[in-house]
């Protein structure tokens, strides 16, 4: 039965270097998907943030320490990692997973193990709605990322300017992967696209395991819309490359999480050319004074720019530290209470959580002046910001075979 004592010992050994330090460190557990591009930036970004804080003398003299876990994109692994973080490594807060399925699996555990937990990337509205519905049992859980509906609204708003006003488009087909986060996304698309002036002709949901997108694109094309409105995160490279190889004469516009990552161009071998995507942060968009410095610091340290979840995690660690400082303790209730009062200028913009009572309790507040986000387009290997006007640094351009009106 040594197999039970061993992990304990091993983790101890793992923590020894810091155990020697003077002040009791504040431990933050980071559970992420190290092998998925979208999740790979989470742990490094947290580390970076911790180093910054410690460089400034920590929180009231106490150093921040990151304990990282890989959940292999599996909910049960994540639950195990969570238990380990809390019971074994005694972390005071957890930042966990960009995948909604996993975030939802962890949500009950935040209460069971009485630990503040923040997701740096899971977007589904189900998360804050659950908190609103049963605040008593979910109050330790925070969504460090805008909700899917917020994402959808931003796509609609930008589409109104860029597609309807500018290009005179009228119809669209929604194409999204079958996942937790896209349910509210699609629902919102259905509402807000018509308001924006784009009539949804059809709505295609496909399995995350889909590899052959030819039929999907052909179905869409047969409907003769002006644009494809996307909602993809687990897939990205394959639809994009096939979109390009088949020269589908329709722009792809919307949420495509993988496309936010700078390596996307390489992964698609340039297939991303012309793709327009919504993002809450990008290496060269100054959403706040902190955005670009962080991106640069990250690249200096790790040799590549962070994925979107990197920015959110970076902020999360910072505002956890800030909350600990304000709460003057790491007691879970105090910390949660402090977090609810968060008002922090992060790489994403101004961070505030929606208060209890709001249908989206503990979700990020979005909109001008807060977390705002941008629309970017891949052009010749670079992400060009095309919306909002105040941040735009380029015009939309499309591959020759895509014919847009006007």
């Amino acid at each position: 039965m040594t197999s039970m004592k061993l992990p304990a010992l091993l983790t101890l050994a793992f923590l020894l270097p810091v155990a020697g330090r003077a002040a009791e460190p504040i431990k933050i557990g980071v559970i992420s998907e190290a092998q998925a591009v979208a999740g790979a930036s989470i742990a490094p970004a947290a580390q970076l943030a911790a180093e910054e804080i410690n460089a400034k003398g920590g929180i009231d003299g106490r150093p921040v320490e990151i304990v990282a876990y890989d959940d292999h994109s599996s909910a049960s692994d994540a639950v195990r990692a969570f238990q380990r973080a809390v019971n074994e490594d005694h972390v005071q807060a957890v930042v966990a997973s960009y995948i909604t399925e996993i975030a939802l699996a962890l949500q009950p555990w935040a209460d069971r193990l009485k630990t503040v937990t923040i997701t740096p990337g899971a977007a589904s509205d189900l998360i804050p709605e659950a908190i609103a519905k049963d605040y008593a049992h979910n109050r330790y859980y925070f969504q460090g990322f805008p909700t899917s509906s917020a994402v959808a609204h931003m796509v609609c708003d930008s589409a109104k300017d860029l597609l309807v006003k500018h290009l005179g488009m009228q119809t669209a087909v929604i194409m999204s992967e079958d996942a937790a986060w896209t349910l509210p996304l699609d629902a919102t698309y259905e509402n807000c696209l018509p308001q924006a002036g784009l009539k949804p002709l059809d709505h295609i949901r496909f399995s995350k395991d889909t590899t052959d997108f030819t039929p999907i694109f052909n179905r869409i094309e047969a409907l003769k819309p002006d644009v494809i409105i996307t909602g993809v995160s687990h897939v990205g490279v394959q639809p994009t490359v096939q979109w390009k190889n088949q020269q589908v004469p329709l722009p792809m516009y919307g949420r495509s999480s993988q496309a936010i990552n700078p390596v996307f161009w390489k992964d698609t071998d340039g297939g991303a050319q012309g793709v327009i995507l919504q993002a809450f942060a990008a290496p060269d968009v100054a959403l706040s004074p902190k955005t670009i410095p962080f991106a640069e610091a990250y690249r200096r340290k790790y040799g590549a720019f962070p994925a979107e979840s990197g920015y959110t995690t970076y902020d999360a660690v910072h505002y956890i530290a800030d909350a600990v400082h304000r709460a003057g303790s790491t007691d879970t209730d105090a910390l949660a209470a402090a977090l609810e009062k968060t008002d922090y200028e992060g790489a994403l913009g101004r961070i505030q959580f929606l208060p209890p009572g709001d249908p989206h309790t503990h979700a990020l507040r979005v909109g001008p002046g807060f977390v705002q986000g941008v629309m970017m387009q891949w052009q010749d290997g670079k992400q060009v910001t095309v919306w909002p006007a105040n941040l735009a640094n380029g015009e939309m351009r499309f591959p020759s075979y895509i014919v847009t009106k006007r």
């Binding site: 295609i204 590899t211 052959d212 047969a222 071998d269």
Partner: protein, 291 residues
């Protein structure tokens, strides 16, 4: 229009499936091994080709070659390090060899998959197509590379056929698949034949993998599904029957494509699976006999 679309896409997909399954069935026929790291070999080949292109800045042909080299090497490694030790192990009784080889190749496949994932992330990768662009065929727009893919698959299958039916080694391989003792009686070295077969198998899996990487793209997650689909197709066609595999490959390819077009992409795989179950009940030993 739609019919033609289905016809063409189904043909390309079917050709890919056929190529993938051919190697799988060849190995089973000759050495009686159900190689459950099949998908891993395909993905490894594709990812290697991708890496050679993006990291090594090679042109698409050279990088494809790298992919093939990798899968051949891995196939031989599978034989030497995993399959043969078990076949020769005195501790494994004959009737248990099957499950042991299944388990071992499965694990080996996981090893390869994990290696790929931690070296190149689990993100999907696409191999640069040999030729870009599209052609219009009766109003249907088809990527040139899709057509090339189908042609190449058939070319390779054709070459395989020639190898098996026209060359001495090929003949011996075929003979071994029917009666290994007969081959030994004629003084033909069976172990050398096995090595040859595994190398050829690696080549087939590699070509299939690289082409798949160009056509649809692969990720380390594709390993399981690719193995499963090859396994299904081969069993559906009748184990050890190359012709059966090809027929089955097209049956599955078209069934999937039609479902995707006519019903919904979400239900793509279900009819094929149901077909498989029915066949297992009606014709427990697959559609076609050996060879």
């Amino acid at each position: 229009m739609l019919a033609l679309q289905i016809l063409i896409d189904g043909f390309a997909i079917g050709a890919l499936y056929a190529l993938g399954a051919t190697g799988f069935t060849l190995i089973f026929g000759v050495s009686g091994v159900l190689n459950l790291c099949h998908g891993a070999l395909m993905v490894a080949a594709a990812v290697a080709a991708w890496a050679a292109h993006t990291e090594g800045a090679m042109n698409s042909l050279a990088s494809a070659a790298v992919g093939l080299a990798v899968s051949v090497a891995l196939a031989l490694a599978t034989f030497r390090l995993v399959v043969r030790p078990i076949q020769r192990s005195p501790a494994v009784r004959a009737e248990e060899r099957e499950i042991f080889i299944l388990t071992a190749t499965l694990l080996w496949g996981i090893l390869i998959q994990e290696a790929i994932a931690s070296l190149f992330t689990s993100n999907a990768k696409t191999v640069p197509p040999l030729i870009g662009g599209v052609t219009l065929l009766l109003g249907v727009r088809i990527p040139r590379n899709e057509i090339l893919t189908a042609i190449l698959c058939w070319a390779v299958i054709g070459v395989l056929w020639l190898w098996v039916n026209r060359t001495r080694t090929g003949k011996a391989v075929l003979a071994a698949s029917m009666n290994s003792r007969g081959v030994i009686l004629l003084g033909i070295d069976l172990s050398r034949i096995h090595v040859a077969v595994w190398a050829v198998y690696g080549l087939l899996a590699g070509v299939a993998g690289v082409l798949l990487g160009m056509f649809l793209g692969v990720s380390s997650y594709s390993v399981g599904p690719l193995t499963a689909s090859a396994f299904s197709i081969v069993v559906l066609g009748g184990l050890g029957s190359v012709y059966g595999s090809i027929v089955a490959a097209y049956a599955v390819g078209y069934l999937e494509t039609m479902t995707a077009y006519l019903v919904s992409p979400a239900y793509r795989f279900i009819p094929a699976l149901l077909l498989l179950v029915t066949v297992m009940y009606v014709r427990p030993h697959g559609l076609l006999g050996r060879r």
